[in-house]
Symmetry: C2
Subunit: 232 residues, 2 copies
Amino acid sequence: MLHEEVVSRLRDMLLEGEVPPGARIPERELCLKLKISRTPLREALKVLAAEGLVLLLPNRGSRAARLTDKDVHDLFEVCQGLEALAGELACERITDEQIKEIAEAHHAMVANYRDGDLAQYYRRNRQIHEGIVAAACNPVLSGLYDSVTARIRRARYLTPMTPPRWAIAIQEHDAILNALQRRDGTGLAHILRAHLRHKREEILKAGFAEIDSVRGLAAHENGNNESAAGRA
Amino acid sequence: MLHEEVVSRLRDMLLEGEVPPGARIPERELCLKLKISRTPLREALKVLAAEGLVLLLPNRGSRAARLTDKDVHDLFEVCQGLEALAGELACERITDEQIKEIAEAHHAMVANYRDGDLAQYYRRNRQIHEGIVAAACNPVLSGLYDSVTARIRRARYLTPMTPPRWAIAIQEHDAILNALQRRDGTGLAHILRAHLRHKREEILKAGFAEIDSVRGLAAHENGNNESAAGRA
DNA sequence: AATCCGTGTTTTGAATTCAAAATTGTGAGA
DNA sequence: TCTCACAATTTTGAATTCAAAACACGGATT
């Protein structure tokens, strides 16, 4: 297995909550599961620590990072800036073909909304946001966006949405698609920022950090990874 | 030596050009110089590779990253976005004390300009930009800013400035301080963006990437790290 | 009963070792 | 002379090993 593979495999495990937030990272177990020795595993952990997904405690191992409310706040703030920038650039650079793809994802997402299919809705939603970033044609931006969104992914997609919030999100996405089709960079930047600001407010109001934190603690205290999350 | 120390020591060496862009990274040498074994060195290299400062070639070692014009373009584009965001946030959160500090750095910088002291000028300049980012009170933003500015540091501070450009830069910095003192976030964001856009144009016009690339190649081809840079 | 102390165990961090891959150097043949 | 092939050497990537640090458990002491 290649270094980058180990990193992304491990990153996925963290994002999936296979190792819950705050839980100690079981080096030994992971070595067996990934069939690698400690050396490449630890290399990957250092990389993930630099990304902010893992907490490195000198001489006492590493833990899956846990987000505080402040972290969520700050990450969303930066995410707003990155998506706003992406929106502006996308309007300058996006092809008609790419707009068509995003429009299709948008309509599919609206259908998911009508069906009340949250999982599919989130999938399409993510596809749209990522499409806009990709259309900015800036790999540096894409990279930072990936790393920031990775850290808030759990907050973003695990927090349940209230029906009124969902309705508003749909309206906002209408405006997003509209601005994109008009190639109104400034307008798109503004609506994206507002959209994410609202999402953030929703998440912080729901007390995500506390929920996630408790889940992590529970899993930690009885040394159980899989089932504790459900039990907590 | 702690892991983070190795990373930042190594990062400094790359930024200083001690290992020139494009040059092979001499694992053995660095182990001796830092008095560590290959394991922690390689851990640091993977982290720096994730940061974009090091290029990892499977089975053929690692090289100091070399920036293309496109890289410089993209990095500055993102940097514009980050500083613009920082400027907006700073205007909401900065204390009078912090403004005073930045104002002092500004005036010192203007004095450096009058003296024609480019090195000191750049030092103050950086202090101002970093001060604005710090005033945004967002560690996530600071982190991304650090990593992006690290990658373009050589381009930013090694490219010589033409006298007219320098004069304009001073004007722009007047406007920056002014917006900050008025706590005009939107205005500050705009002027910062323009300021960095101009800087980028200057650098790309000067053909930084080619210059840096040649320097790296020369150092690579005769296996010499230190003296080649000066000789090229 | 609660706390402190000491011993044995586990875990961590880093050096070393080892196999595989790439690179270099040399000589044979065109 | 130039090119190709092949052996020797070096370098890489990862497993193993080893010392030091943290941890866990038990017994002694107050």
